[in-house]
Symmetry: C2
Subunit: 765 residues, 2 copies
């Protein structure tokens, strides 16, 4: 210990804290040397300069990408293309404690299908909440294609708060999309099914299988979807696909495309041509156009039908009330995208070479004039394709999805079969540029490209195949998102980014400065209900209570001990653990793992988490903190002891492995005193500088003050035991006092380094 204290003394005396190596500008190798060694071109260096983000740097945009069948949400930065977080949404994930603590299990349980727990999702389309058509960075919605569901993620803490199950669909794809003020979250069917949960034979496909669009009401104040205020519009069994909400002039309308309007049912095993043959026979499918504002009024007026306790506007009502129309669109489209001004809607078909630009003004005029080209087999009016079009342009083979630039009239369309992106002018109808991508691009995404004010600058190509792009990692390949610079006239490829988990389908990007996440929770917070937890426990109030046969353990977590350190329950007990992280410092998360019960908790600063389980077998179950939190993190441990039924302790005291004398105590106190001198000098160093100008340092000082307060408490105990000449306890508490000092010193050194590296000035010597 004296060695450690001597070291602290040395450090506090030095000006630079061993930072001599910082500031050395260049190593022996020059830029030219590196380019030659690594085979880089000047173009590569320019791309590197445009994407490389030095230590502590921030990305300009934050991307939220669906994680596909991983059931998660992927968060990464642009232009660095570094993945910042995987947010667990539909799939349990132990690092986040998601699906392992009682609070998040309750969220996952909302997503049961017919009572069955579903522990994955096939996430496709994330949508950020909007205010007046602008991304506002508050909420994110994402769908599950496999088990039609929508999840709500809070962008204040990047946690999943709610899962709603679609009450009538059996499959979906076209979610989530939001209306311009996030009044509704839009979700559209994919594969048709009966609205009931009963068996209906495929021979009744045309008559009883149905598609739909659901409008989920979002209650922004509650931060939750309100199923009771949500409704759907019944649609034909046309394999509805993606959607988009109108904006500005087209606000109040939503658009949903489709494929397989042939209503073909395959059956290759019985000699029928497969779905892929029968679903690609016609030249066009249908774009659905729905007046959702009027639909909401119809529901309010009682014109909806309750199906599975959910309001559905049936097709005949929708037709009679004039809220539902169809327009032919190129075959097998994927993506319908409303222009920032709301005037145009761009659709392209994977089995065509054209992008079609529809004019909302023309479509509206046709509707107002009741100028229809006919009706479909379900009586829905069809608008004439040519009369609805602004223009149509050949953009490449397999055009799939279009995104808007900040530059007027400029858009980008992903070209699946050609593996290209086409840049074109949708006002004039002319191709501006093309760039090859690797390989088979699906969606593409521009910065805030779905909003009323796209930010331009970058485009991401979400490719469906990577093949040979990266170091091989076995038969299952990563995906590849390619970053493209769209600031100039020519598109320039900047970066290939492997996606290591899941197959993203679509992504949205928001200006980083619009996100304002928290770094800690209010004390004793249940983050899943966003309320103070009934199990919040303050330091010193740790206790065990048996209520209705359940043994509740109310505990706390702090650097670096778990209170309680020993839990003893009888075989067969139901145990409910509740831990509150009583830290305030940023990034001071504690975890809790215990052998054999499939429990792993993550408690960020302020959070209260619970785990309830049955202790069925007598035995010894060590537990510990799973997040490295201090130099004595490994010592943040404890034991759950499950005693056999009827066991009574033998009354034998704990054997001490080591005994301590007055001499040990005196030595320990000397160390403590020397350490205090060091801390005082570090404090002096910091407070002599303008540390209040550096918020991270202010936070560190606050944290160090907490640690020194704990040190004071340990000091009191030390002195009490010393007064009673209990050298065993006096020595151990003196050690604990010292450990709090070390934690304070650790933070102090970090603060000092920060001040040195960020040009702090001496203010009051």
């Amino acid at each position: 210990m004296t060695r450690l204290t001597k070291h602290l003394l040395t450090l506090s005396a030095a000006a630079g804290f061993g930072l001599a190596s910082i500031g050395t500008a260049f190593s022996a190798e020059s830029l030219e040397d590196v380019m030659k060694r690594r085979g880089l071109t000047e173009k590569d260096i320019l791309a590197a300069a445009k994407t490389y983000t030095p230590t502590g740097g921030r990305d300009e945009f934050v991307v939220f990408s669906s994680g596909g069948q991983s059931g998660q949400l992927i968060v990464y930065g642009i232009p660095s293309m570094r993945i910042l977080k995987y947010v667990a949404v539909f799939t349990p994930e132990p690092w986040q404690g998601y699906g392992f603590d009682d609070e998040s299990k309750a969220v996952l349980a909302q997503g049961k299908i017919n009572g069955t727990e579903i522990n994955y999702g096939d996430t496709h389309h994330p949508a950020i909440s909007e205010t007046n058509g602008e991304y506002d960075g508050e909420w994110l919605f994402i769908n599950d294609k496999a088990n039609p569901r929508i999840a709500v993620v809070d962008l204040k803490d990047f946690e999943t708060k709610q899962i709603v199950v679609n009450p009538i669909m059996k499959s979906e794809h076209g979610g989530a999309f939001v209306t311009p003020n996030t009044e509704y979250v839009i979700e559209a069917t994919q594969y048709a099914g009966p609205f009931s949960n009963d068996f209906v034979p495929l021979s009744k496909f045309n008559d009883e299988y149905r598609g739909a669009v659901t409008y989920w009401k979002f209650d922004r104040e509650a931060g939750r979807i309100d199923p009771a205020q949500s409704f759907s519009v019944e649609l034909p069994p046309y394999s509805q696909d993606l959607s988009d909400a109108g904006k500005l002039v087209s606000d109040g309308w939503s658009f949903t495309n489709s494929f397989c309007t042939e209503r073909y049912v395959g059956g290759i095993e019985r000699g029928r041509p497969p779905f892929e043959a029968g679903c690609s026979q016609k030249d066009t499918d249908f774009l659905h156009m729905i007046n959702w504002k009027k639909a909401a009024e119809l529901v309010a007026a009682g014109k909806a039908t309750k199906i599975n306790d959910h309001d559905v506007i049936m097709m005949d009502t929708a037709v009679a009330e004039g809220i539902l129309f169809l327009i032919p669109e190129p075959k097998s489209p994927h993506g319908v995208d409303v222009s920032p001004d709301g005037k145009y809607i761009i659709v392209s078909g994977k089995l065509d070479t054209h992008a079609s630009v529809y004019s909302f003004e023309k479509m509206k005029a046709l509707i107002d004039a009741k100028d229809f080209a006919g009706t479909d087999p379900y009586g829905i009016p069809i608008l004439d394709l040519k009369k609805s079009l602004h223009t149509q342009l050949q953009v490449g083979l397999g055009p799939l999805h279009t995104q808007y630039d900040s530059k007027p009239c400029v858009v980008y369309t992903s070209i699946y079969v050609d593996s290209q992106v086409t840049k074109w002018d949708y006002c004039e109808g002319k191709v501006l540029d093309k760039i090859s991508v690797h390989y088979n691009i699906g969606h593409l995404m521009s910065m805030e490209g779905d909003s009323v004010s796209p930010k331009g600058k970058y485009l991401v190509s979400l490719n469906k195949l990577a093949i040979d792009r990266f170091n091989p990692v076995g038969p299952l390949h990563p995906q590849n998102h390619q970053l493209i610079d769209i600031s100039g006239d020519k598109m320039e490829l900047l970066y290939d980014m492997p996606l290591p988990l899941g197959e993203p389908h679509y992504a949205v990007a928001i200006s980083a400065d619009k996100l304002k996440p928290k770094v800690r929770y209010k004390s004793g917070w249940d983050s899943r209900t966003d309320q103070r937890s009934p199990h919040r426990t303050l330091p010193g109030r740790e206790r065990t209570e048996v209520v209705d046969g359940v043994t509740h353990i109310y505990g706390t977590l702090i650097r670096s001990h778990i209170t309680p350190e020993i839990i003893e329950v009888e075989e067969g007990s139901t145990v409910s653990l509740h831990f509150t992280n009583v830290e305030r410092a940023e990034d001071e998360t504690h975890g809790f793992a215990i052998r054999g019960f499939d429990i792993n908790l993550s408690a960020e600063p302020g959070k209260t988490v619970s785990a309830t389980f049955k202790a069925e077998k007598p035995g010894v179950y060590p537990y510990y903190c799973t997040e490295f939190c201090s130099a004595l993190h490994l010592e943040m441990q404890g034991y759950l002891l499950v005693t056999p039924k009827g066991y009574t302790a033998e009354g034998v005291a704990l054997q001490e492995g080591q005994t301590y004398t007055e001499e040990d105590y005196t030595k320990q106190v000397e160390t403590v005193n020397a350490t205090q001198a060091v801390i005082d000098s570090v404090v002096q160093y910091i407070t002599a500088r303008n540390f209040k100008d550096f918020p991270p340092v202010v936070a560190m000082v606050e944290d160090a003050t907490d640690q020194l307060n704990f040190a004071e408490e340990a000091k009191t105990k030390t002195e009490e035991f010393a007064a009673a000449k209990d050298w065993q306890n006096a020595t151990l508490w003196a050690q604990q006092w010292f450990q709090y000092q070390v934690k304070a010193a650790d933070i102090g050194l970090r603060a000092k380094t920060y001040l040195d590296q960020n040009g702090a000035k001496v203010v009051n010597q």
Copy 2:
């Protein structure tokens, strides 16, 4: 369709395929402009040049990092620091189908504790298999601290093949480490517990709680750990920590450090000082030294005791036979690292400022001379610290882990409290350089630094806190791995890499060229048992069989249909799905998701996967492929119909949504013929060039040939139906014929682009 064909014709006629933008060297913005705009220094540009990896480029090293409490393994590249894959190990992960298909569920089931399914792990230390002390890139082993287990990952396909549960430990930490020829995988206890699974009170801690080191026998031919040939050595309850195997001169020995040799038991809730106080009181802990070769001989000679059906060499036997020794080591060490030549062992203690370099030669001489400083309370001989030391050096506050450079005598030690890396010379005992890291570094890792021939070049700092390093993502922060250039005299920080999921503890890096993963499985392969699956299904052999009351569906997956497309079973049936991906093309994975049964499968080319479930409720359950696999991927769908008990079909045929005439048929055949002309011209373009010099193009040609063979089969069906004047089926099969042509054309275009971009030459015009 004719539009599509026209486009194909245009493309095949053009030389450049719209690649005009490739080859344009620079955009308007110069390097200086970019540096100014993004605030980059020359040092930043050099770091960018050292890490940026252009499209298609390969990383020099591949890192395998533990995923901490995510229970996964993280694979990333150096120097690009791009994450290539998360490999599911202890935690179910749906993208990989891990824990969602029957085959991988069987692997996870091996890891049950007391019959309880454990769906996470706390992975800490990955180890790559070695041959003669060199990483050989064949296998990887990783531990679970929480529920003492070891997993075996196959680096041929990056899949988890086996989980073994430690038969005597209740907690572990010091695994996995391998002996120089991977004879054994070493696993050491962390928190002591009774070897039995019974309750033992803490009052018997010193007498009945125990640590151990387990030597798991690895059967390289089987590619699995053989528990029957594995054994353990009983150790005192000293909180054993990390281990390392001796090499070359020290081969046959292994070294394990420890903390809390005070054998302190906390209990802060009952007024006792916490573990962290009682476990940090002494100045030293014990390094354990075990002769594992001799231990294996003792087991073979029957000198082990069977505990829980596992061979354990008890402490008294170990002492009597001279295979177990202790040496004092600095307090609370974390990491024991044997030098590449096997002569030295470096240990440092988190609560000290020194690194200690032990001399194996001196230790061995003391043992041979029976020159002991005493024995511990369990009778284990203790070697004198000073007599065992080569040197000791002050390296900083909180030294934690040491890694070796390729340069002789050069090592790097992570300094936790100072948040630095110290570079020093362990032969001469002098500090060479220091660099600050952000923040609180845990382990660090050099390239193949654990092997007999470290590769130098790069060092990764695995920091425990990120705090302010990245764009904020809520209270739970990513981790931060910092890449450091160690090629010169001064260490240079190159890159900050966020870890988006899990808290890595330790990582290993291997030269990328040593990894030889496969891109496909043998036909009908069960990847978890590494045998041909009994459920392998060949195209055309799809069928349903009811055996012992279970309905087995033998199906296939191919671009882009699932066979069967309709599955009908009666309510209450147990259904066992078996799908074989019959593709050969790299990266042509198909997935399978179905509503409501928590089933999500991933079938890479060649793989057979199964899912068994009970169809309890009548209803309609759509299923589909989850990996975007062709332009008609969305049409790769089907329906599981669960009929009510006793249901009999009404004999009503499927209603066709669309009917086709001879005219439709004729039109479709025209399209097919035009498309064939296009394909012929693409084939001509490719074969006129030296495409055989490009292996990826050879693979594409093989895949395109497969598609054209399928087209031939569809053509045959088309012509049969046309001959019978069945225009409905003739038209649909002609469409399917066309779809295979489109797939072939898609691949052909990719091949053509590849040849254009990679300088292919005309060889035979």
